[in-house]
Symmetry: C2
Subunit: 253 residues, 2 copies
């Protein structure tokens, strides 16, 4: 019996708090969107794995450290959780894991730093989560980009990436936002949904794995209120980070 299964069964037997709802919810959210290359492991020995994005990815990382797999360079978010899991599950496989998210970034700002922060790293696996600022900053920073700007910019960035690194596996996270939290209210919708849809279209076009974070967070509110998963509706809580990591692992591993 596997450790995971044993652990689950034991927990189910002894704990009145057994959180059986969570796995079912992640499963349900990912029924439609899951795409995986059947029979081919996405993570391989010697892989360079790069996480790119905004503050959700950044998560307070130490930007002065450039070496892979370094605690503080991975931040205090879903990337650290995933790096720890990958390095633990694939010992001796020489994985190199980088976090190059930068708080506040929109797609064009990723493009501006793509040479040092992606192309020079030459990842075999590129996981990108960007888009919430492309919308949010139209409300708060007089940013004039639209959903079409976001879609065109992201499509262009990833086409260029695919051309220069054709063997790189791509993982695209869906931008998400939760109402009922301090920074997000109903005025975000339906406009924000255009950004979500754009990310999904681009994932399909570019043969990427798509992580449907919005649906996953929505479903999680059946177990605890939105602010449990994200204090402001944009940035995940510690619990929200684990939710993201579980979803990513389910889609990719």
């Amino acid at each position: 019996m596997s450790f995971n299964r044993r652990s689950f069964l034991k927990k189910a037997a002894v704990s009145t708090l057994a959180a059986s709802g969570i796995p079912a919810i992640v499963d349900a959210a990912m029924q439609v969107d899951k795409k995986k290359k059947k029979g081919v492991p996405l993570i391989k020995g010697n892989d360079i794995i790069l996480f790119q994005g905004d503050s959700i990815t950044d998560a307070g990382r130490d930007r002065g450290i450039n070496s892979p797999n370094a605690h503080s360079a991975l931040g205090n978010g879903y990337v650290f959780l995933l790096a720890a899991r990958l390095l633990y599950e694939f010992p001796g496989q020489n994985l190199s894991i980088y976090n190059k998210g930068i708080s506040g970034n929109k797609v064009y700002q990723l493009s501006d730093r793509w040479q040092p922060d992606c192309l020079l790293i030459r990842p075999n696996v590129l996981s990108i989560l960007v888009g919430v600022n492309d919308f949010w900053h139209t409300l708060t920073h007089n940013y004039t980009g639209t959903a079409a700007t976001y879609e065109n910019d992201l499509r262009g960035l990833l086409k260029n990436t695919k051309n220069l690194m054709p063997g790189t596996e791509l993982i695209i996270g869906e931008p998400f936002a939760m109402t009922g939290c301090s920074a997000v209210n109903e005025s975000w919708f339906p406009e924000f949904n255009k950004y979500r849809a754009a990310a999904k279209r681009i994932a399909i076009e570019s043969d990427a794995i798509f992580i449907p974070y919005q649906e996953i967070f929505n479903k999680a509110t059946e177990l605890a209120p939105a602010h449990y998963w994200s204090h402001d509706g944009v940035h995940p809580s510690v619990a929200g980070c684990q939710l993201m990591a579980e979803a990513w692992a389910k889609a990719v591993l």
Copy 2:
């Protein structure tokens, strides 16, 4: 089928890197030492969970933040990994998780700050990992304490804790050190083993769950060299943090 089991089966089917060795090794290391109160969940709703110790626990946490469940206050180590897991697995249960480890601490330094950093927090679950500095600093800092000092100090601290908070569940981590890394060589042994044995004796005396980290790290070297799990032999790598978190979760959950 549970998420964990499904995930395991899927991974075993598709990945040539499936790390089947790791769960077996954690299991083997914990056969003897595992102690769990049968039928009674250790983690309950509204629990206050406190992690105490030295740099391994500290892991670069932001000591200026006193609120529970805060990303940077949890550090970049095994505590963050466990907090994320607990908060994810027990949503809506109002868990409060604190990290009050401080780099360089020996037992007497925990005692010096026990009032603000433990008693005032009033944890229902106290997880403590301390001891490597009680030995290490005899080599590097002219510290004159002995294994007997460590044992007496730790026994006294925990007796006092049990008297003041009789309902608190206690988890004691075994101090560990790995030779073949930059800070640890054969000169540590067998003297260092006295500290390990003392921690285990105290765990048994105080009806605590004991986490046999030394055995777990030793076994892990069958899958990757010691420096993969700890750069210097004292502080766990990111992979080593996940190894610790898995062992803790296996013993406690």
